[in-house]
């Protein structure tokens, strides 16, 4: 691994390609994090505040609370699949930045 000089990190951080990668990562990760925490906390809050409603059977004897709890598994797996799909493009873009940078450093050293 060629050594990257100190000042180089700052200019890398300012490059449009890097900024775009950070932005698209954030555009997924921030809403997804807010969503999963809100969806998860909705379970204890609804169970604690409306125990009667949540005790109602919805699917045969299965209560609304239990169905909601099971839906959290689906939620977690769906978000996981979405993220894995998005991350493929992040990987490609990160690899491009890495490749460019190591070439540039090698050129500068020659």
């Amino acid at each position: 691994m060629p050594q990257i000089e100190r000042g180089r990190w700052e200019s890398l951080a300012a490059e449009p390609e890097f900024r775009a990668l950070v932005r698209s990562r954030r555009r997924f990760v921030v809403p997804a994090t807010i969503f999963f925490i809100a969806y998860y906390l909705a379970l204890p809050i609804s169970v604690g505040v409306f125990p009667q409603v949540m005790s109602r059977p919805v699917l045969g004897p299965l209560t609304l609370a239990y169905a909601f709890a099971l839906s959290q598994f689906a939620m977690a797996w769906i978000l996981l699949a979405l993220y894995l799909q998005r991350a493929r493009s992040f990987d490609v873009r990160a690899a491009r930045i890495r490749r460019q940078e190591t070439h540039e450093v090698l050129d500068a050293q020659q």
């Binding site: 691994m1 990257i4 990190w9 700052e10 890398l12 951080a13 890097f18 990668l21 950070v22 990562r25 990760v29 997804a32 994090t33 999963f36 925490i37 998860y40 906390l41 379970l43 204890p44 809050i45 169970v47 604690g48 505040v49 125990p51 949540m54 005790s55 059977p57 045969g60 004897p61 299965l62 209560t63 609370a65 239990y66 709890a69 099971l70 959290q72 598994f73 939620m75 977690a76 797996w77 978000l79 996981l80 993220y83 894995l84 991350a87 990987d91 990160a94 930045i97 890495r98 940078e101």
Partner: protein, 534 residues
């Protein structure tokens, strides 16, 4: 059965010992663990005996409210996936403190991070080892509990000392396979008992006879109820969901793979495996309640906190039982058994019981080995080499210190666990999660995302999170019973904001230009993997 597991794992350890001759091999298995293998190992590291036996028991007793734990512990991995796994792999070497002190250079930051790591792992470690003695009491009555703690402790030390991360990983993988196989088999047997009719199974769970009246285990509120029920649930939920992203032995697993992409893929595998396991807890728990019958499941299935409380206040047992009966529960009998092994006995005879008990032991061994490695790396890497020796010292010294620390941590855990036998296990696990969520997580996230975040902020955040969660648990009902000053069992809802506020205030008070200047470098490294440790 258990002997077979020990035999196989010792062979693996012998084979791995040749590959642990460097610090990189010892702590990170040369970063050559595959993503799938690491996913199994994360599952093996994470699902402890407290989960396997404890949640099954809680669901058998309290139905839905017990299942809440399962949900929280799976959803928690989304935080690991989105926020910490990849940046950690890209910027760290062996420990979480590497990431924090990457831009927040300085001895105090690293020392505080190492101390909080060691505190979390010790609490967790002791909880697991104390769990061993409880398990032995019930499953193998002719075997003393002190002997069991010593046997588990010594075996764990053999894995860690000779096999390092590679052997520990394999122990965790083998254990995860056994555990998943067992829980799926038990769940299938439960469904088979109801002639493969999910409807019949759920109807039975919705009307479990207790004292002649039918109790609906699918209904919420059997464990958490009353005015503070909702607050308790939310506070516990927050600590579970955020705490996992700060557990050192889980974070350490991301240093064993080759890249950020492999770190992400291993979380994905872990989420699939852990999710399947947690789904089976419903079948096992409700199955135990309906097939074995609540009245036959033992006193150890009281929520962990009640066991500890009764142990210290025997006079409180009678009123507590009266209260349980009022709430529709049969008081557990002292001579009865645990839910999962008992269910196995009912469905598959004594062979299956022995198998399930052996799996429970393997589970404890794997988790304990991972924890010891995490505590040892925090001490050897962060405190000894970065602080005492200022980065000097060669490989031989490094390995010697690493092994010596692992030995001391293991020995300390054995002694403390014997001293704390019969102590409240839920208390220790709750402490570990609350400290991780309050002290580690805010600081990790701010270090990654906030340019202005400073050394004083990191120190203030970790100290505030650590102290507030320790103090709040010490004055909570878990510890003080009816005389509690703080009303909730889990401090998360208060201590996480305190940790975050400490970090923000500490940053705003003292400006730290040097750390700000390093932000770009950390940001580029964390996002792209440029210059990552190989």
């Amino acid at each position: 059965m258990f002997a077979v597991f020990v035999g196989i794992t010792l062979i693996v350890t012998y084979w791995a010992s040749g590959q642990s001759a460097t610090s990189r091999g010892f702590y990170a298995a040369h970063r050559r663990i595959g993503a799938l293998q690491n996913g199994w190992a994360i599952a093996g590291d994470y699902v402890s005996a407290a989960t396997f036996l404890g949640i099954t028991g809680l669901i058998a007793f309290y139905g839905f409210d017990g299942f809440m734990y399962s949900v929280g512990w799976l959803v928690a991995y989304l935080a690991v996936l989105f926020l910490v796994a990849e940046p950690l792999r890209n910027t760290g070497k062996y420990t979480m403190a590497d990431l924090i002190s990457f831009r927040l250079r300085g001895r105090t930051v690293r020392a505080v991070a190492a101390i909080s790591t060691i505190a979390i792992t010790l609490f967790y470690l002791i909880a697991q080892m104390v769990g061993v003695s409880a398990l032995v009491n019930v499953l193998l009555p002719r075997f003393g509990d002190i002997a069991a703690i010593v046997v588990v402790g010594v075996l764990m030390l053999v894995y860690v000392l000779f096999g390092g991360m590679l052997a520990t990983t394999w122990v965790q993988v083998i254990k995860a396979i056994l555990l998943l196989f067992t829980s799926i088999a038990l769940s299938l047997l439960v469904v088979a008992h109801f002639h493969f009719s999910l409807g019949d199974f759920l109807h039975a769970a919705a009307a479990v006879p207790v004292n002649g009246t039918a109790t609906n285990l699918l209904r919420p509120g059997l464990l958490f109820h009353g005015a503070l029920g909702a607050w308790n649930l939310v506070s516990l939920g927050l600590a579970l969901v955020l705490g996992t992203a700060g557990l050192p032995h889980i974070l350490m697993r991301f240093f064993t793979v080759s890249s950020a992409k492999a770190a992400r893929t291993s979380v994905a595998w872990a989420m699939v495996l852990i999710g399947i396991f947690y789904l089976t807890t419903s079948f096992m728990g409700l199955g135990a309640a309906t097939i074995v019958g609540k009245e036959h499941i033992g006193r150890r299935l009281y929520a962990g906190q009640a066991i500890g409380y009764i142990a210290r206040h025997p006079e409180a047992e009678a009123p507590l039982n009266a209260q349980l009966i009022r709430n529709g529960f049969i008081v557990p009998k002292p001579d009865s058994n645990l839910a999962a092994p008992l269910l196995a006995g009912n469905l598959g005879g004594s062979l299956l019981t022995a198998f399930v008990s052996a799996v429970a032991f393997a589970t404890i061994l794997a988790v304990v080995a991972g924890l010891t490695l995490a505590a040892s790396s925090a001490f050897a890497h962060d405190i000894w080499f970065s602080l005492v020796r200022d980065g000097r010292g060669d490989e031989t010294e490094y390995l010697f210190v690493a092994r010596a620390t692992a030995f001391v941590v293991g020995a300390l855990a054995i002694v403390l666990s014997i001293a704390l036998r019969g102590f409240n296990v839920a208390f220790l696990v709750g402490l570990a999660f609350a400290v991780a969520a309050s002290a580690n997580v805010p600081v990790i996230l701010l270090a990654l995302a906030w340019r202005r975040f400073s050394r004083s902020g990191a120190i203030a955040g970790m100290v505030c999170g650590l102290v507030s969660s320790l103090v709040l648990i010490a004055i909570s009902p878990v510890f003080l019973g009816a005389r509690a000053i703080f009303p909730l069992d889990n401090p998360g809802i208060v201590s996480i904001p305190i940790g975050l506020a400490g970090a923000i205030l500490g940053t705003l008070l003292i400006r730290d230009r040097e750390s700000e200047a390093m932000f770009d470098q950390l940001h580029v490294r964390a996002t792209t993997g440029l210059g990552a440790e190989v």
